[in-house]
Symmetry: C2
Subunit: 233 residues, 2 copies
DNA sequence: ACCCGTCTTTGCGCTGGCGCAAATTATCAC
DNA sequence: GTGATAATTTGCGCCAGCGCAAAGACGGGT
């Protein structure tokens, strides 16, 4: 697979880049293919590269000392990841682990190179900052959710968010189909797979969703919104 | 009170700014004094300004629909806040509320002005991005903590973090003194004031801390670390 | 010194959600 | 199709932590 400068325009942070800059970026990066289940990088690794997902799907997780993990976000093609460790000063390490959910390919850009580029090209730093800003907002919202909302509300919210993100990628007649296991949803919402399973079964009985193995189809988004707001009782 | 360009150098994001730039920033900002308990801005307000705290102390919180609030961070002099809403495109709103914990004064900088400055001065966008990066990391860590750790571990961690932040500002012989109520600690850790009170009483009995009205003195930081790691049992 | 408002403590009962265990079902490789 | 593997469901018991209520402690203002 080859990547052209034009492809890179799909990356939010590079939308405003000139063709020369895009060329330069490509020259300072390498293509890395990762098979399903393997890792782009692990939490604690030295952050030499930041990545652009070219194809496939990946997840970003963080683990505590006991190995319990939380899911920070799911990565879709042309999204950047690993940028946190890579933009910090000196020899930073990745604060999270990136694992391929399918066979995936990515563009690995040298951190030092992007940093030097930013020093002279305001738009990259600016757009990257905008991206960071949106992550902070999402993390703050999820943090507040975790601190104040009950499990059913958090799970409902997670499904709404996921439907919004990947729903764009599907036709929504007959529901929005999501590909996540109970375990994954649990890691996104700070609960357990048992509780998620019980909730989903309950909601299926009520006709709000349909469930399958590693699959959740949202039939009535409105029903989820109601649960998320804590109105269902 | 007047603020000189030199004062502004204490702001992380302006460390590398030229004197002319600092002058320009001062010219495009106004001094705002807020008395204890009042608000710099509320969640949902249009983000016309971003702030630099000049004196006093403030807290940044976020509330859900029911009014339950979580504490995102405490703001000390020469720290920037309200930058999230202000750096986003168009007419963004603040995602959080900033309230003065003491009589405070701040410098309010026009969002549009700082945005235009960043477009031509890489170092500001770059340094601001670094700052954002550190916030993301902290939020991710706290999120993981909230999702996977038990209450006592989270509270211990919060005290460690607070001691690290404001400990710099005090002499640590005879312990590091923190000025937070049980309610505030509860909002930082996603629990209730009752549980915090019970934990602190327990830890005081063990000699790890001393407690007082709106005051917690850390005597044995090591004891907290042990609890935070879940080893105490 | 005293009062009053606020913060803190603690007893008590309750329950949301955890997590084991075992059964059931879906998926894939061959 | 068949067996192996992994995901899911559900019963059951349990307990960490919530939250009310009431008492107690502290501190600022006059």
């Amino acid at each position: 697979m080859t990547i052209s400068p034009k492809d890179l325009k799909q990356v939010v942070v590079f939308q405003r880049a000139t063709d020369e800059d895009l060329d330069l970026i490509l020259k300072n990066s390498i293509l890395r293919s990762i098979e399903e289940g393997s890792f782009f990088f692990m939490q604690g690794d030295e952050a030499k590269y930041l990545y652009i997902l070219v194809s496939g799907q990946a997840k970003l997780t963080q683990s505590n000392i006991n190995g319990q993990q939380v899911n920070l976000r799911t990565i879709y093609p042309w999204q950047m990841f690993g940028a946190l460790g890579a933009t910090r000063d000196g020899s930073a390490t990745y604060p999270a682990t990136a694992q391929a959910l399918e066979n995936s390919s990515s563009l690995a850009i040298q951190s030092t190179f992007l940093r030097s580029m930013m020093e002279t090209r305001p738009y990259i730093a600016f757009d990257l900052m905008q991206l960071m800003t949106s992550y902070i907002q999402e993390m703050q919202a999820r943090y507040r959710e975790l601190a104040t909302e009950r499990v059913e509300q958090r799970v409902a919210n997670a499904l709404i968010r996921l439907a919004g993100q990947s729903g764009i990628r599907s036709n929504k007649e007959a529901g929005i189909e999501l590909s996540f296991s109970r375990q994954e949803v649990a890691e996104m919402t700070g609960t357990t797979l048992y509780t998620v399973s019980r909730l989903l079964s309950d909601w299926e009985r009520k006709g709000i969703i349909k469930t399958g193995r590693e699959k959740i189809t949202v039939i009535q988004p409105h029903g989820l919104v109601q649960i998320a707001e804590g109105l269902e009782k």
